[in-house]
């Protein structure tokens, strides 16, 4: 919408303060645990203490007798009454895995729910859970995917031979020829440890029976309220319209709260059966074992390069430890298929081949978490590129330059069948190297190295496919194709604009973003706009917030709907003001002629439309409510180039990031401060992945990292001040928007991993297992064996 008639200052592109943050800064958020309903009961779960065991018996008598206990629910009681979670169909599925909401015959991971105790308060429910007697018959546990795929390994699911929940082979281009004729072939093996999203607020829900006009209302800490509604209705055999799901204020999601879990469904079942509201809040000990984990890959990667360092082909073998069940909704395919499939990143790769497996083990199931397979894939490839650079005596940044897909080649179909377009990789790299004064940095590094100091520099470039439309799968191989979403724009009786979309925020300020777009598209004042995003009762169907999609979908749908809404407003305005619609514009919520001789506030027009309809011809008063579904068809590539500088203490193995420069292409930015917050937040999680975070299991499948004293996420001291720069290229989506938030995690894991390896390389050392703990660093230096 170009338009000289718009005299408003455009606010897309300005860092408007988001008033949706005000309740949060005042302590007036409404998170799940803040919700109290009269007569509400509390739920605690008894969880398996064994990684793999047959349940011979579950005796709940003593628990039931404890005063204050209302009910103890077992898996047996649910049999036949509800459908268990059968793994989502996936083209590359190895077999079906069935997950009962509460374990029936077997438990398959430490932390799997066995019973649900309902009591008058949480403490009593926990008291009762301790009184439940479970007779376990321990079974051998699978804890390593490379052992788990062998023919002699115990089976986690009888229906999944070799414990394959996912298996795929892929080839494109003439890989063998490329390897055969290459000037240089390098092969490396990498191990990326298990992680989890570690949202500050764990999961939780309140389920209520006939709370209002709905049979079942659920407040959840969740990213996908409509998807939950669909599956709750399906599993509990309720008409979908009898169910209302509200995403409460959610304390972090990051993909962990985009899966479907048994606990919330158990709560729904209990609420319906007890006819009382039921609350379950996941405590941190539970969260460490009951919410999905991520990463946990073994990656073998081989590169064929020519004498100029150009990639001729890539070949990889990937094993992912996907845990005990194929997670409901996205399936076990997320990490395995993305790690291998997205490995080329932003580089020209003419030929590639991979074999990837998601192997079931007796651990917590693995689900989507910020950037999914890309960080591990990118880190592996970038480390390998550095190795090639070393052998060819090329500068690592130059290596990247030679291999990044140039804009002149776009649209460019890469060997993984993704088409790169409307993205410019090279400017990001150019900007980062310029801002960090790359040449001087390398010179400094050489000086320091001569003096015995270990400084490392890591350069990493990434491509991030965001805002995926219907032609590109978010979860490869799955039947779930969330490629379109809707927004309803409605002018209320007071002239205020309601923007309704099923796109809840966990801090991304989606409401503010959509309001800014609406202001620019319609000419309505910001304070006359309002958003409803969290409630299935109030918004049109939408898949929710994940995969860096809300800027593209929410904004795109707003733009589409606004076009029609504006047309209707101007048509009625023309009638009421007795002018031609072409003479009219909307400025700051006022419909006015361009010369301002005639005007009417939107509020007044709305009142007339609603309350004086008899005075208006019907065709000019079709109602000021427009719902528009938007499908961008393709995805929009975002990009970035990150450079991390680290100092490694050769005595302790400690790694300090002393400088971090990131240049990113996130398309047209709606609210720059919000975008920067997303990027820095993503970098922080990437730094955590590369240096600190790891979930450890012993050989019996017992989790060893079970509190926040064991699982270490970065604090303010581990994250340096990030120097952010922008090299934005608009996407082809409406408004030129792209998603952001995940790419930066990918860039950070890769850049920091490369920086550490580069530091060790000053002394001929290396590292291939991450996180780069001090101990691994010293081993990589040969200081420890």
């Amino acid at each position: 919408m170009s338009d000289a008639r718009f005299v408003n200052l455009r606010i897309v592109g300005t860092s408007v303060l988001p008033d949706e943050a005000i309740p949060l800064v005042e302590g007036e958020g409404r998170f799940v645990n803040d919700i109290r309903l009269p007569g509400m009961y509390h739920v605690a779960f008894l969880r398996s203490q064994h990684a793999h065991a047959r349940l011979r018996s579950v005796d709940t008598n003593r628990a039931q007798e404890l005063p204050g206990v209302v009910k103890v629910l077992t898996g047996k009681e649910l049999l036949g009454k509800v459908e268990p979670f059968r793994s989502m169909p996936n083209r590359f599925s190895g077999g079906e895995s069935v997950q009962h909401w509460l374990a029936v015959d077997k438990v398959r991971f430490c932390g799997e729910a066995i019973c649900a105790v309902v009591a008058e308060d949480r403490a009593t429910a926990e008291d009762a859970a301790e009184l439940i007697e479970v007779d376990y018959e321990p079974l051998p546990a699978v804890t390593d995917p490379r052992l788990g795929e062998r023919d002699d390994a115990p089976l986690v699911h009888d229906t999944c031979p070799n414990n394959y929940l996912i298996k795929r082979e892929y080839q494109r281009g003439n890989v063998d020829e490329a390897f055969g004729s290459a000037h240089l072939v390098v092969k490396r093996k990498f191990r990326i440890g298990r992680k989890q999203a570690l949202c500050l607020e764990p999961r939780g829900c309140v389920a209520a029976y006939r709370d209002s006009t709905f049979v079942l209302t659920m407040w959840m800490s969740h990213q996908l309220p409509y998807v939950v509604r669909h599956y709750v209705a399906k599993h509990l055999r309720l008409p979908e319209n009898d169910v209302r799901v509200v995403a409460a204020d959610t304390g972090g999601g990051f993909g962990q709260k985009a899966s479907i879990y048994p606990e919330e469904f158990v709560c729904a079942y209990l609420a319906l059966g007890l006819r009382r509201p039921v609350k379950w809040v996941e405590d941190r000990l539970e969260n460490m074992v009951a919410s999905t984990h991520a990463r946990d890959q073994y990656i073998e990667i081989e590169i064929a390069a020519d004498r100029d360092g150009r990639i001729l082909a890539l070949s990889s073998d990937v094993w992912v430890d996907v845990g005990a069940y194929s997670t409901y909704l996205w399936s076990a395919g997320m990490e395995p298929l993305q790690t291998a499939g997205l490995m080329p990143g932003p580089y020209k790769v003419a030929a590639m081949r991979y074999r990837t497996r998601g192997v079931a083990t007796n651990k917590t199931p693995v689900g989507p978490y910020r950037a999914v397979g890309r960080p591990s894939a990118s880190a592996s490839l970038e480390l390998l590129l550095d190795e090639v650079a070393r052998r060819l005596k090329l500068d690592p940044a130059e290596m990247r330059r030679r291999n990044l897909i140039p804009i002149e080649s776009m649209p460019y179909r890469n060997a993984n069948n993704l088409v790169h377009d409307n993205v410019n990789y090279l400017p990001c790299l150019k900007l980062s190297t310029a801002k960090i004064d790359y040449e001087r940095l390398r010179a400094e590094q050489r000086e320091l190295s001569a003096g015995g100091k270990l400084r490392g520099i890591g350069v990493a470039c990434f491509a991030e496919l965001t805002g995926l439309g219907t032609t590109t799968a978010v979860g490869p191989g799955t039947l779930l194709q969330p490629g379109r979403d809707a927004v309803t724009l409605r002018l209320e009786t007071t002239g205020v604009l309601t923007i309704a979309a099923a796109l809840p925020s966990q801090g991304q300020r989606i409401m503010m973003a959509m309001r800014q777009v609406a202001v620019d598209e319609l000419g309505i004042g910001l304070s006359d706009t309002n958003c409803l995003t969290n409630d299935t009762a109030m918004a049109p169907y939408g898949f929710g917030t994940f995969a860096s999609r809300t800027a593209v979908f929410g904004s795109g749908a707003v733009i589409q709907a606004a076009k029609e809404l504006r047309r209707r407003i101007l048509a009625l305005g023309a009638f009421l003001l007795k002018v031609s619609a072409d003479d009219l514009t909307i400025v700051n919520s006022v419909i006015q002629t361009v010369d301002r001789s005639k005007s009417m506030p939107l509020r007044e027009m709305a009142e007339k439309s609603y309350f004086s309809a008899k005075d208006i011809p019907q065709e000019l008063n079709p109602g000021f409510e427009v719902t528009s579904f938007y499908d961008p068809k393709l995805g929009s590539f975002a990009a970035g180039a990150h450079i991390a500088v680290v100092d490694v203490d050769p005595q302790t193995g400690d790694v300090k990031i002393i400088r971090y420069v990131a240049s990113e292409d996130v398309g047209t930015m709606i609210n720059p401060a919000v975008v920067e917050g997303q990027i820095i937040g993503g970098i922080a999680q990437g730094i955590g992945e590369a240096l600190l975070e790891e979930l450890v299991y012993d050989e019996n499948g017992q989790p060893r990292t079970v509190t926040l004293a064991d699982y270490l996420i970065p604090t303010a001291l581990e994250i340096p001040r990030i120097e952010l720069h922008h090299a934005n290229t608009p996407s082809a989506a409406l408004g030129g928007f792209k998603g952001c938030g995940e790419g930066s995690t990918t860039g950070a894991v890769a850049a920091v991993a490369c920086a550490v390896a580069d530091a060790l390389n000053q002394r001929g050392g290396d590292i291939h297992e991450f996180p780069a703990t001090p101990e691994r660093v010293l081993k990589g230096l040969g200081v420890l064996t």
Binding site: E126, D127, R284, T652, L692, L712, T773, P774
Partner: protein
Amino acid sequence: MKPAWFDYYAPRSLEDALRILGDGGTDGRVLAGGQSLMPMLNCRILSPAVLVDINRIDTLNRLHVGTDSLTVGALVRHADLLRNAHVRDGWPLLAEATTQVAHPAIRNRGTVCGSVSHNDPSAEQPSVLLTLDGTIVIAGSAGRRELPAEEFFTGMLSTALEPGEMVVELRYPRPPAGTGAAFVEFARRLGDFAIAGAAAMLTMRDGVCEKARLTIVGMGEGPFRARAAEEVLTARRIGRKESKDAFAEAAARVTATVDPVDDVHTSSSYRRHLAGVMAVRALETALARTRGEQVG
């Protein structure tokens, strides 16, 4: 993560507290700062039947700076030490170590005596008490007794406290003139439990080390007094030229004598190596401070 039930008492006199604790046998616990105890109760790692909250016993809230020693009562918080200029000046090792205890909110409530009684092998306070040759004053229904720090720490999370007894006071002798001390630790993040740490104290006269104290943190059994290292340094000339070799030798004695265990965070060999590194860093800083150099 709600605790199991317990009987809660908040006596106003030490006598009452000891009586209740005595009656509780092995199933009673003292609640002072609660920064170590409450997490265990919330996780249900521990479910004591009796909790004796000593926070109402005003006589225990005593921090006394004397000519010869510092007295720290059972209700003195880590933060109280840091806010006291006399403590910072007279017992710099204690102040330095205390700044590394967790974070401000934990230091505001957690008590020094509590930390000593808990004896987590990665904690700072036990090692400082040991390094400074401190004394622990213990009270039980049978009366009071005093133990030197050396006899108090008996193993991982264990002390010489008998059931029904509690620590009421700690005494830290004032370090003599010519003493430099340093506390260094290595943790993954600031405030985390140390993977390894060292408290070093050197008393020098005319370039000769009159007295050396070196305690290693994080070795699994409570604070480890590195006697073999101390022997190597005592009565030895440690000037600018000699210190490198002297400390390397001391560190070698440390790594040869500590016996750390593997745990989820690190292997024993890494801890052992780190113990040597921390020993050297602590000794170097302590030495520099004997010369009046500002370090850190």
